[in-house]
Structures are given as C-alpha cells and as structure tokens.
Amino acid sequence: MSAIAISGLTKTFGRTTALDGLDLTVREGEVHGFLGPNGSGKTTTIRVLLGLLRADAGEVRLLGGDPWADAVALHRRLAYVPGDVILWPGITGGEVIDLLGRLRGGLDRKRRDELLDRFDLDPSKKARAYSKGNRQKVALVAALASDAELLLLDEPTSGLDPLMESEFQRCVRQVKQDGRTVLLSSHILAEVEALCDRVSIIRLGRTVESGTLRELRHLTRTSIAVETARPVTGLADLPGVHDAVFEDHRARFDVDSQGLEPVMQRLATLGVRSITSTPPTLEEMFLRHYGDEDRS
C-alpha cells in the first residue's frame, strides 16, 4: 500500500494556481525525495497532506485516510517539520519539543535526550534566542523523537551547517531502517541523492519526473574544471560532453553522468594536476530539460 497517493491535485489561491494537477506516490517504507525549485508547490502539497488546506480537485490519500476529514486521527501517525520553523518567543526549545510530542500522543524521552545531544541543541534557551538553524533543530528533534510511521520534512536542512546535515542524514537512514516512511522535500539535488530511494520532481505545481534515482540519472550532468600536465585534446568528441571551453592546459566542460567514465579515462592520460567537479543545481537542470516554455 502507498503511504501517500495523490493524483490530479489542484489548488488555487485567488488567481494564482499553486498546484496544477500534481501526482505523487510514496510507497510505505521508502525515503521519497520531493524536488522542485522554490515556489513550485512543495509546501502547498504538504499543507494539503496535513489537512491545513482543502484540495480544489484531485484525489489525495494519506496513510489510507482522507487528510482533510480524518486529520486528527492521521496526525497521530505522522510527524512534520516545517520549512520555516516559527516558535513562541518566550517558550524554551525543550518545552516546545515536549509539547509537540505530547500533542502527538507521547514521545520517547530517551531518544529525545539523545537527539538533543546529537544535534548539540541547548533545550533551556527561549525560542527568541535561537538562530534559524537552532529553531529547525527543535522541530527536527520533536519529529525524530516520535514513533510516527510517516515523517513529512519540508526542506529540513535549509538552516543547518554541514556537520548537522550529516547528522540529519544519519537520523533519516535510521528511520528508514525502522521501516518508517519519509517524504523529504528539498531543492538541493545532492541531499536527495544521498538519502532517497525514489524521487518526484515538480515544477509549476505539476509533476514532471518520477522514479528511482537510477531512472533519473539522465537528468544529471556534472560540471568539471581541470588543469592537466599536457595540453587537453580529444575531449570534445567524447559522447556526453557539452559546453566545453579549452585553453591549453585547462578545460571547463559539462558531462552527462553516462559519459563520465570515458572522460575520466581520457583525463588520466593527460596527467591531472587539479580537478574540481560540481553537481548541477536543480535550477540548471530545469533550465536545460524543461526550458522556459511554460514559465509565464
């Protein structure tokens, strides 16, 4: 059975169309990446799933129930981390964690304290003294300390430093090991690649791609800048190399994921002095694959 099954979901606010026939299927026990540029409708989708917004059209099932009508019963089985965590200024982080846990129906105290430790969060500070990253940690600890079978995480790492981000990734892997389901919305491709079994990509309120990362591999392209001992030759003709600029001992180019291996073999013969590779940003990917034709 699917933990989340959405088909043809539409939601408008006045004259703006936030969701325009969105489809999304999340299987039980998987970590599902929910990718899209800012403003593409990820948060709106999650709010519909939480029963905060009413769908205008389309079919939405969450854990086998109707998210609007059965909201309270379903919420006992899920935990949510908002993208922008806003807390009550006079209440401490520890109090918020306990409150949200109790409202959800209890939380594991041992795991709570362990998570506070892992995320290096001081629970006795009032929320007004927390940075954005620390507010995010409060919501993360509250969600991860629960036994919820489904986690809805809306860009949960946008305020975290790299150290905490890897801690977060460890936590999500643990959740997956427990057989629980995660919907992870993000606009960072690398984060999704590191964690997710399957990915759905949305744009302008519509699903444009959905499948395993392997299936979506054709979408990814790596930018490479290299400096070599011998002049760079014989690269431009290799399959999958794009936008190449050669300059004697230096080269900059993009290469499709399938074309990486022959490129690396060729570079190895040239004597690599330095090399940097950057994963493509989601925005670049969108520009390349979907152009601007329906951006109004």
Binding site: R47, T92, L103, S124
Partner: protein, 526 residues
C-alpha cells in the same frame, strides 16, 4: 558618531506612521481635558468647591497629583491629566529608544548597520536624537493646545517643557536598560516597571510624605506648578541633568560590552515542559497568562479608583449638576447610577480584553505558529477553542476584578464590607453582553478571518459609543439595538432578571459555535 545623521533620518522614516499618533494622542488628551475642565470649573467658585471636595479625598489625590495644583484652572487641568500624559510620553520614549537600540540589535538589523561606516555609539545617539525630537514635538503640541484653549503662555511653556523633560529622562533610562538586557522584552519590562514606580511614588508622596514625590520624575513635573503663583523652572533643569547623567552611564556601559551581549545574561528557562504544557489549552494559557494577569490587575485598580469616589459622588453631583446628565437615571439614585456607569466601563474593558485575546488566535495563525500544532493530533476545534476559551474565561475574570475592586474600595469608604461581594455580582450581570462582543470576533475568525480584527474592534467600539454617548449624541433607538449591552439590565440601577441574560448568552453561544464550525471549513494560514 559617524552615521548618526543618516540613521536618524532612517529612523524618522521607520516611525513616520506611529510617531504622529503618539504625539497627536498626547495633544488630544490635553485638549479634551482642557476643554472639559474649563467648562466644568470655569469660575473661581466652582474651582473652590472642587478643591473643597477633592482636598479631603486621598484616593483622588493619589490618582492625580498634589492638591496645591488646584489654585487655578490651569493647575486643575495639570492635576487631572499631567500624570497620565507623562506616562504616555514615557512609554513613547521607551518604545522609540528600545526599538532602535536593543530591538534592532536583537533581531540582527543593527549588525548590518554597524558593519557599514557607522560608529559604535551612532545607533544610540540616533535613537536618543529621535526621542528628543519626538519630545520636542510633544512639547510644541502641548504648548499649542494649552495656549489655543486660552491658558496663559508662560505656564503653558512650563508644562510643555516639563512633559518633554520627563520624556528625555525615560529615553535616557531606556538607553541604559538597552545596555543591560539582552532582549528588548527585558528592556521594556524594566523601564515599564520604572514608569509604574514613578507613578506610584508620586501617588504615595502626594497623598502622604511629599519627599517620595521628589523621587519621581512625574513628581518633579507636577511640582513645577506651571499655572500657580509659585512657578518653578528648576525641576526641568533637574530632568535635563538626570537625562544627561543617564546617557553618560549608557555610553560607559556600551563601550564595555560586546555587540549583542547585555550586562545581565538572560536566565535559561525550563529544559523540559511542566505537566501544564501538555495540551492546546495549556499552551494557550501560557501564551495569554501575562496579558490576563495584567488586565485583571489594571482593571481591578481602575475599579478601586472608581469605587473610592462612590461616596463623594453625591456631594460632587450637587456641586456639578452638569455631570448628572452623563449618568443613566439622572440625579436620582446618583450612587447606583454612578456604579452602573463605572461598571459598564469595566465591562467594556473586559470585552476589549476578550476581543484582543480571541484575535491572538489569528495572529498565531498568520505568524505560522498554528501550523505545527495543527499538524499534531490537535483538532481545529480544540486549537481555536483554546484561544477562545481563554478569551471568554479571561474576560469574565477581568469583569470580576472590576466589580470586586470597585466594591472593595466603595465598601471601605462607606464602611460596608458586603459591597465587594455585591459589586462582584453586579458586574457579572454584564457578563453575557461581554461574551456576546467576544463572540463576534469568534464568528469572524471562523468565516472572515482577514476581517476578524476589524470586526472585533468595531464591535467593541460600537458598544462603547452606544453605552457612553448614545444620550449625548441623541442616537436613534434602532441604531442601539445591536449592542448586547442595551439588552442586559443596567445593574445595580435596574433589577436583574434571568431572561435577558440567558437570551444574550444564547446569542453568544450560537456565534462561538458558528465560528468554530467555520474554522473547520477553511484553509489555515491564509
């Protein structure tokens, strides 16, 4: 100092809406008092009669000022309004300086500014200059109003300077507090306490040992005796000196602390939630707690003040028959009419509290703080109901405080200890009407959330106009019928019967239930 001028210009722009309201409000307050007092006590005999009535009333002296002020009509105006105007000016200075110093530092806005070519002291100087300009504007407004309503120019200049001077003192005090506390909330708490202490000290001093009044800037201001024979300018100089000294202290502290730090570290809170914070209702109580306590104390004190006048009111009405026109029931049953009118004031304030508390739900929702709660097993009815519950129960508490306070002090002046209980009962007769007003806000929260604030406050304002001005404005009867206050008995002037109370209560219940039902149907957060 570098950048002070630019910062000042920028802060003037940030305050362009709020500041004129503070200044205009203070001027308006003085204008109303000046016109009213000159109408009521325009002749020397009327003034002498007033001095005779009030001179022996400790409660009125404690509320207003030293009785020596009552030797001229200008002095009478200062007696009645100066302390309150001083509190408003002090609050204005507190918010101005607090917002532009610690407030900006706490939110991180000041960091951006200080990273530019701006001196360390520039934000403080700019904030103080802003406050000084605002105080100057207040002084000009007060002077213009005083002279414009026919008061002598010399005294008007002195009263204006005294009010401005009090403003400067509290601006400088806020600058010191901004160095001491890490959060703007702490600054406002400390300075607010100082303003309260200044008022209480002069109250104790004017009613008892005058030395206490000299410990309060408000006391200095009143003791300039602006319109009297013994005018004094030197207290204004004292204010200026104290303000300068405080600025010096603030600068010393500023030069010795890190950006973002205070001299006092904020206390850590509980690392774990207590049992009380385990439900939507528990959270709502925690969020509203301070406001409930503040309103109960404030309105209770107002009730005490009203009640203390109850015994003098009969004499007062004989001296001033014009006032009787404002009382329901006219000059007969004067005391009951007075009690009914003042309890109605308390009920209107209770309704205002209730509406403010109910609207907090909307503020929570638009700030995004409802979302994490509604994503848990809290139903929409439980969440909105938690705020409405505090609004309804809290408004009842405020109303009880008004009645109990008024009954307590009235009972003390007439030697009847039963009055506290009686007046509490009298106040509760207004509870259905109070709830009906809160219910209007509840209804709109469910169905027209974007207009909820307007609907709630219009309901309060409409009831206030109908209750306080219907007779003097000659409003037509049909225009009054929508006010729930028209449909409950004017206790203790009229006998209390169950039927109208139950009917108004039923209306309130229907509106609240409809509001909760509406909230279950709409999108949250928009």
């Amino acid at each position: 100092m570098t950048g002070t001028g630019t910062l000042l210009g920028f802060s003037l722009r940030r305050e362009r809406i709020g500041l004129p309201l503070w200044i205009g409000g203070t001027g308006l307050l003085f204008l109303i008092q000046s016109v009213q007092s000159q109408n009521l006590y325009g002749t020397a005999e009327e003034l002498a009669a007033l001095r005779g009535t009030l001179g022996g009333n400790t409660a009125v002296i404690a509320m207003s000022g030293p009785v020596e002020l009552l030797d001229s009509i200008g002095g009478e105006i200062v007696f009645e309004i100066f302390a309150f105007a001083a509190i408003i000016v002090a609050l204005m200075n507190m918010f101005l300086v607090g917002r532009h110093t610690r407030g900006d530092e706490e939110t991180g806005r000041a960091e951006l500014i200080r990273s530019a070519r701006v001196g360390r002291r520039a934000p403080v100087f700019a904030a103080l200059a802003l406050a000084a300009l605002a105080d100057l504007a207040v002084a000009v407004a007060i002077f213009a109003v005083a002279v414009g309503t026919g008061l002598p120019a010399g005294g008007s200049l002195l009263v204006a300077a005294a009010l401005g001077g009090i403003g400067l003192v509290f601006a400088a005090l806020t600058a010191v507090a901004a160095q001491v506390f890490e959060h703007a909330r702490g600054v406002y708490g400390a300075v607010g306490l100082a303003i309260g202490a200044a008022y209480m000290l002069r109250a104790a001093g004017d009613a008892g040992n005058p030395a206490l009044s000299w410990a309060s800037p408000i006391g200095w201001g009143q003791r300039t005796f602006p319109y009297g024979g013994q005018q004094r300018w030197w207290p204004v100089l004292v204010m200026a000196g104290v303000a300068l000294a405080l600025v010096g202290v603030a600068l010393l502290a500023l030069d010795r602390r890190d950006f973002g730090a205070g001299l006092v570290r904020s206390r850590p809170g509980r690392p774990r939630a207590s049992w009380a914070l385990g439900s939507a209702a528990g959270l709502a109580w925690r969020l509203h707690r301070g406001a409930v306590i503040g309103w109960v104390l404030g309105v209770g004190m107002l009730g005490v003040a009203y009640g203390s006048l109850g015994d003098s009111i009969e004499q007062y009405i004989l001296d001033n028959p014009e006032v009787a026109e404002f009382l329901p029931g006219g000059a007969a049953d004067v005391v009951d009419a007075y009690l009914a009118l003042t309890i109605t004031m308390g009920a209107l304030l209770a309704a205002a509290f209730g509406v403010a508390a109910a609207l907090r739900a909307r503020a929570e929702e638009t700030a995004g703080r409802a979302e994490p709660l509604l994503a848990t097993a809290v139903s929409r009815r439980a969440w909105l109901g938690s705020h409405l519950g505090v609004a309804l129960a809290g408004s009842a508490l405020v109303l009880i405080a008004a009645g109990f306070g008024e009954g307590l002090s009235y009972g003390l002046t007439v030697g009847d200890s039963g009055q506290a209980v009686r007046m509490t009962g009298v106040a509760l007769a207004y509870l259905p009407a109070v709830w009906a007003v809160v219910a209007v806000a509840a209804l709109s929260l469910g169905w027209w959330a974007k207009a909820a604030a307007v609907a709630g406050w219009v309901a309060v304002g409409y009831c206030a106009v109908v209750e306080l001005f219907a007779d003097s404005f000659g409003l037509p009867e049909w225009l009054l019928q929508a006010s729930p206050f028209v449909h409950v008995p004017e206790a203790p002037l009229e006998p209390v019967t169950a039927a109208p109370l139950l009917a108004v209560c039923a209306v309130a219940v229907v509106l609240v239930v409809a509001g909760l039902a509406g909230f279950r149907r709409r999108d949250v957060g928009y």
